[in-house]
């Protein structure tokens, strides 16, 4: 099977050190907190309890309650406090447990954090990381399952990061913490227990550099976050049918690595974009609009978008599954564009 060699091996080679996605995040936090005393954490249940998804376990023990702070349920204000700490010399990493709850904080994120540098004529800096988590899980229903990255993507002044692997998670979180701009760092609830190779060293991953998770020549699949493993699974199946898929993971949506995407499109001439969020007004549409404009003459067929159904996420598990893209949906879309 050609598949094995086409999918990036560095992250699945079992002779190397393997970590869970959540452990990779934990390691990034720990290393950055050691390196820089201005880094501190804030969120609900992140200290004593180590966070609902265990990303912050043991950090309280190591860094104490002054740098690992449990907050009351006052999202708007503790995110605002993150902004205030950031503009006065700290590097806060604030956790909002579900991306759905960021809707309580958007004045602080969009009107304040995203605009502060601009409104102060470039003088103020906001090195704030907002860690949050989205997507469907196991029956968490309409208010705990949304994919809302498109909201942040639309706002000038914010970075939007969505790692799909433990390796990317660690490297990107470290970059996010060192960045001088506010970063919305979006994890996925179904990725926390995924395993992958994560080097022990102090590496970072530049924002705006897509990663080709699998090389291929027939069709370009653009996917991020939890849609990456699904796209890779689809690619494996399609390979068995002789269809050679390239999977491009932008990793950071803003900045977006248009060049890598367009290069791939110019090579394959067929594009499918996969997002878990609903189609209307999603990031996939934006990427499609860019591709059609910049690679118009290369496209052999319309760009296909595989996306969530236009609905809040249902509690019922079967319907939940049918509401977001599955491996088969991706396979069918690929066949449609070929």
């Amino acid at each position: 099977m050609t598949v094995k060699t086409k999918t990036k091996s560095s992250e699945s080679d079992s002779s190397k050190r393997m970590l869970l996605y959540r452990e990779a995040l934990n390691e990034a936090l720990k290393e950055e907190m050691k390196r820089d005393s201005t880094v501190f954490l804030m969120g609900e249940g992140i200290a004593e309890r180590g966070g609902s998804y265990k990303v912050t376990v043991d950090l309280l023990k190591e860094f104490g309650p002054e740098r690992v702070i449990d907050t009351p349920i006052a999202e708007a204000s503790f995110v605002g406090a993150g902004v205030g700490a950031a503009i006065t010399g700290m590097r806060p990493v604030v956790e909002i447990l579900f991306i759905d709850f960021t809707l309580l904080t958007l004045d602080q994120v969009i009107n304040q954090a995203a605009k502060y540098n601009f409104m102060t004529g470039g003088i103020g800096k906001v090195p704030l990381v907002l860690r949050t988590q989205g997507g469907v899980g196991n029956g968490l229903a309409a208010q705990h399952s949304q994919s809302l990255e498109a909201i942040f993507y639309h706002i000038p002044g914010l970075r939007v990061v969505m790692p799909s692997s433990p390796y990317d998670a660690k490297g990107l979180l470290k970059t996010a913490i060192r960045a001088d701009d506010p970063v919305v760092f979006i994890e996925h609830k179904l990725l926390y227990m995924n395993e992958g190779h994560v080097p022990q060293d102090d590496y970072t991953i530049d924002f705006g550099k897509a990663d080709i998770k699998r090389t291929g020549s027939d069709v370009t699949l653009v996917a991020w976050s939890n849609m990456v493993p699904k796209s890779l699974a689809a690619a494996e199946k399609l390979a068995q049918q002789g269809i050679d898929v390239e999977v491009v993971d932008p990793r950071t949506l803003n900045p977006l690595d248009k060049k890598t995407i367009l290069d791939s499109v110019r090579k394959t001439e067929h594009v499918v974009i996969v997002q878990e969020a609903i189609r209307r007004g999603g990031i996939a549409s934006d990427i499609a609009s860019i591709i059609q404009q910049q690679a118009f003459d290369y496209l052999d067929a319309p760009i296909e978008i595989v996306a969530g159904i236009n609905t809040p996420i249902p509690f019922n598990l079967n319907l939940e599954k049918l509401s977001v893209p599955q491996v088969n949906d991706i396979i069918e879309a690929v066949k449609r564009v070929l």
């Binding site: 009351p72 349920i73 968490l140 809040p312 509690f315």
Partner: protein, 319 residues
Amino acid sequence: MYEKDFLKQLFHKIYTIRIFETECIKLYRQGLIRGYFHPYVGEEATAVGVCSALAEDDYIISTHRGHGHCIARGAQIDRMVAELLGKKTGYCSGLGGSMHIADVQAGNLGANGIVGGGIPIGVGAALGISIRKEKKVVAIFFSDGAANNGVFAESLNLAAIWNLPAIFLLENNHYAVSTPIEQSSRNQNLYERATGYGVHALAVDGNNVIEVFEQTKDARQMCIKGKGPVLIEAKTYRHGGHHVNDPGAYMPKDRLDYFKSKDPVTIAKKHLKEQGKMSESEIEKIEKEVETTMERAIDFAKESPELSFAEFNQMVMGY
């Protein structure tokens, strides 16, 4: 002194909630219920005391820990179990689940996955009542954690300046997930926050159904007279962790034991015996009846169909 029938009814409701929760927790452990499940065990007297003081066309609005409110407000437990199992016969056709269970027809405007999210919605229901000049009230349930969210203060103030018929029912169970109130408020008498806003506020033993009932009755009268809102802080406690999968290891044993010794079920039973002059065996009959109803509810739910994808699609088409 209270009528036997009334006391019986209180006990029946409290015991139904207890059995509903304990049986559904079993279903959860069997993998039949998924997602978040926040048991109301230990807090039953609050929901039942409040709802027993309400009139039929009053409203309540509930929280993520909402099964108790739903039952106290008169929901059928078979349709509730069906909802928790994601079935078409559930109150929300299986689309809402535990965190969104609602019984709109009965005046339960629904649980909420967003802590504090229901508070302003409750105020809006009260505003509608006030505009229509009806003699109704809204009981707005929320817990100590929600009292730290801005909508609590905002909504309290709106209700105050508009004299709305809203009873703010602060169920102080002393925890927001694992965070004890000592860590989230300097002043642990949360009702005093309302005083600064000029709102009549008081605390009550949330485990004593009669006390809750009496205070709610008075609050309802004030509201009906245009002297609302009122805030009632019901002091109570969870008998376990935050949700089914949380062992609650952080809860000090002596404090948990103390509150278990004030179990709402035991207290209601005592009322029934002492004031209602009911015998142990009569009470056992009620218990048996509740348990049987619950068994039937579970059977109903298990046998119920799920919403088909076609039906689902039909429903969301217009979104």
